[in-house]
């Protein structure tokens, strides 16, 4: 007989014995534990602790995933150059107002942005340039 067949035989035996563990009355399970030298209360407490540990780990994993999703969403909002021309222009103006020193270093085009002379594509291009310079071009609230 091959090892696989022998193993399968033992696996079947284990399954039958587990069926018996499932079917045994509570009193017998407790009595068996004591007979084997275990304290049922201590065993129960240890298994319960494993369960609570699993619950805590899963909650932590869910929290981490939620935080990562929020951060990813925030990054997406911060880095996305709006396709709506009016919104892009509003953000550019807002950004130049918040960072006048940067605006001063930029080209005449930037200053034209504030006067409204730029085309929609130029506004988006400028927002992308500012983003490349490390400025947040998204919906970052004031003071953050």
């Amino acid at each position: 007989m091959t090892d696989d067949k022998e193993r399968a035989a033992l696996e079947r035996l284990k399954s039958a014995l587990v069926e018996d563990i499932l079917a045994a009355p509570d009193g017998e399970i407790l009595a068996e534990a004591q007979e084997d030298g275990s304290d049922p209360e201590a065993v129960a407490a240890a298994v319960r602790a494993l369960f609570e540990k699993s619950v805590a780990a899963e909650k932590k994993a869910r929290l981490t995933a939620a935080q990562a999703a929020v951060a990813a969403d925030r990054r997406r909002r911060l880095t996305a150059v709006p396709s709506d021309p009016a919104e892009a222009r509003r953000r550019l103006n807002h950004l130049l107002a918040r960072h006048p020193e940067t605006a001063g270093k930029l080209t005449m085009a930037a200053r034209k942005g504030q006067s409204g002379d730029l085309s929609d594509d130029e506004v988006r291009g400028l927002l992308e340039d500012l983003q490349d310079l490390g400025l947040s071009t998204g919906e970052e609230p004031e003071g953050r």
Binding site: L22, S38, V47, E58, A61
Partner: protein
Amino acid sequence: MNPILSREELEEAIRSLPVAGWVRLRKIAVMFCQRRPLEADDLLQEAFARAIDGSRRCPRTVGIVKFLAEAMHSIASDAMKTRGRHPELRAVPLIADDGLAFDPPDCRPNAEQELGDAQETAHMKQRLLDLFADDDAVAQVMIEGMIEGTDGEELRALVDLDRTAFASKRRLIRRRIDKAFPNGWKP
């Protein structure tokens, strides 16, 4: 009503287990870890984790201990299968000192190892059977039936016992094995 327990219901059901329920879970974990590269606590924790994160879903009609027992069975079986597929990993240079390309060793057990494993498993099985060699014929037929995969009712019919006598004999078999191998099924 949803036929599957929600996460909250599942947690509540597990937390509400009596002391015997927790002890029962531990005994089942120990049983499924016999002759497997797993520790009972790790198996239990993994079963709890899969139940809580929804990887395994518990039907309302299934008892919580049975549900967790099935989860443990599945995890333990997978662990045994993947052990063969995922040998120990370690970093090695792609080019050996002699300038030749690295030739990875074959991690599958060779014929000699396979034969050794087969002999050890066969020996273990024989030791389990021998525990009942001097016993009544019913216990012998029952353990042989269990090993051959004859299921509960079929086996009960075979040995012609009523439910109570059958349960009692099956318990005798399990407890004799427990006592003969307190440190696990090792030949």
